[in-house]
């Protein structure tokens, strides 16, 4: 996946947007003593599940970029009847106020990536969202089962991680049994020759 070009052309736009919103006074109401802040988030418009999605946020105040601030990235999620936003990544802003992180999208559909700055003693909190579409149908999670030797310690449902070799499948046990039982069979065969010779007395053997 191509890294979104947040740094060069879009960086300017992001800065512009953040600056404009500050100027327009559209910042959320800040608590007493906190400087208002603005955040902008950039994410790719589309992504495939299972790949790393880079996201970037720029945090500014009226005085310029805010460095060393922690920014969280959240996506909305709904699971087993519970709706919420789950944190998927976080980053620390640099001197340009840029926080960069990657996350792996696993849920398909339209995704609103939300960048959240929670605020601190100096700065007021702020949030921003960016839309992206996640597609794909690949099974991603690979059960971590270590190494299995098929025929020795493979479970009723074999999974990946199974070392398969003709020597390891079940039949060597069967072959061993066949070998032993055919040996028995040979002994029984010789035994049957005893009764076959029942007519001959010991004298005839001479």
């Amino acid at each position: 996946m191509k890294i979104p070009s947040l740094v060069s052309p879009r960086l300017a736009i992001l800065g512009l947007v953040a600056g404009l919103s500050l100027l327009a006074g559209r910042l959320p109401a800040a608590a007493a003593g906190q400087e208002p802040t603005a955040i902008a988030v950039a994410a790719p418009a589309s992504a495939t599940i299972g790949t790393a999605v880079p996201v970037q946020a720029r945090l500014v105040s009226a005085a310029g970029p805010i460095p060393h601030a922690s920014v969280d990235f959240l996506v909305p999620a709904s699971f087993l009847g519970t709706d919420g936003e789950m944190k998927v990544a976080s980053g620390i802003t640099d001197a340009q106020g840029l926080a960069t992180a990657t996350f792996e999208a696993r849920i398909t559909g339209a995704l609103q990536v939300k960048a959240v700055f929670s605020g601190d003693n100096t700065y007021a909190p702020s949030t921003a969202t960016s839309s992206m579409t996640v597609t794909g149908s690949k099974q991603l999670y690979v059960p971590d089962i270590g190494i299995r030797l098929r025929g020795l310690n493979s479970s009723p449902i074999a999974q990946s991680g199974t070392v398969s070799h003709w020597l390891l499948s079940g039949w060597p046990i069967g072959a061993l049994l066949v070998l032993i039982w055919s040996t028995y069979g040979a002994a029984v065969f010789f035994m049957s020759r005893i009764s076959a010779d029942a007519a001959n007395g010991p004298e005839a053997a001479r």
Binding site: T82, M86, S137, G151, P156, A158, G170
Partner: protein, 321 residues
């Protein structure tokens, strides 16, 4: 035995609905193969074996295939998992009750006395404190129990849970010897169960009514998750310490918040019980001693679990573990 056809990764190439047919095919071949060995092993028995094959009862694989396996929106198979946040587990000291996860599990599953399918152990910590560790079946991905079962009555499902078919189990208890987590329970007698449990139709994923002489354990409630609700234990926890999730979509919830499992595990230094066994459990723990709900680690003890049923089936007996 060759069960490569069941490899869940193969479901990438075909529709997930193909599992049942494959499972049946493998099953039949396996029966024939075992019958072949029986021909050598037990000559007198084997004469009738082929005639009997058609009478063989339904296999757990077939039973499993009958269940609708759970899929994410785009057809991906769910991989159920659990995260237990020990920071929020105080053994229900705060609410002054026996562990509520166990209580909810017992009520939901009619788990017979003395089975605590989720059991809250009190573990000594360095220093002089303790922590509470609620332990379900660890749902190992390399389960020692399924491997030793002589009849394949306990098995892993592609979704992850390890289940037991009590209608096939012969009660040899080698799985109990093999389980390193003490998470399997045997019906030493006809266990006490409420009358409504006896009327239920037996399902592998909801082990009621209990069958004497067979092994039971936590089944991870995949049927409930499929229906869109949390398992009983997670619902019952007053501190929301139990997260139930799907590793495929990397999402879990405790009924209050939604988390991304992978990140949550790493950020909180999650661990699994006895990692050195190589059993690869699907149940993760976040280290802690109940501090998130105000427990002091030196406060010991929890109340004993009670089985609430007033009226139980006649002829039942209980025992101690």
């Amino acid at each position: 035995m060759n069960s490569a056809e069941l490899d869940p990764d193969d479901s990438n190439t075909g529709p997930p609905g193909t599992v049942p047919a494959l499972a049946r095919g493998v099953q039949r071949r396996r029966i024939l193969r075992m019958a072949g060995s029986a021909l050598f092993a037990v000559p007198p028995l084997a004469f009738g074996a082929r005639a009997w094959l058609s009478r063989a009862p339904a296999s757990p694989l077939e039973a499993m295939a009958r269940m609708s396996s759970a899929q994410a929106a785009n057809g991906r198979l769910r991989r159920w998992s659990m995260v237990i946040d020990l920071r929020s587990c105080d053994g229900c000291q705060r609410v002054g009750k026996p562990p509520q996860c166990t209580a909810a599990c017992i009520e939901g599953h009619f788990a017979p006395q003395p089975m605590e399918w989720i059991q809250v152990y009190e573990q000594e910590l360095p220093g002089n404190g303790t922590r509470f560790v609620p332990a379900t079946c660890q749902q190992c991905q390399n389960p020692p129990c399924t491997n030793v079962c002589p009849v394949g009555a306990t098995f892993s499902t592609p979704e992850g849970p390890v289940l037991i078919d009590q209608e096939r189990c012969i009660g040899c208890r080698i799985c109990m010897a093999a389980c390193p987590y003490d998470r399997r329970f045997f019906n030493w007698a006809t266990p006490p169960q409420p009358v409504e449990a006896l009327g239920m139709k037996y399902e592998v994923e909801h082990q009621a009514p209990a069958i004497r002489g067979t092994v039971m354990k936590c089944d991870f409630c995949p049927d409930m998750a499929r229906a869109g609700t949390l398992p009983y234990c997670a619902q019952g926890c007053p501190n929301n310490a139990i997260y139930y999730g799907d590793l495929e979509e990397d999402v879990a919830t405790n009924g209050k918040a939604v988390i991304q499992i992978s990140r949550f595990l790493s950020q909180n230094s999650a661990f699994r019980l006895n990692e050195e066994y190589g059993t690869e459990p699907r149940v993760y723990y976040i280290p802690g001693a109940g501090e998130a709900v105000g427990r002091d680690s030196s406060k010991r003890g929890r109340l004993a679990t009670v089985w609430p049923w007033k009226k139980v089936a006649s002829g039942s007996r209980t025992w101690s573990r």
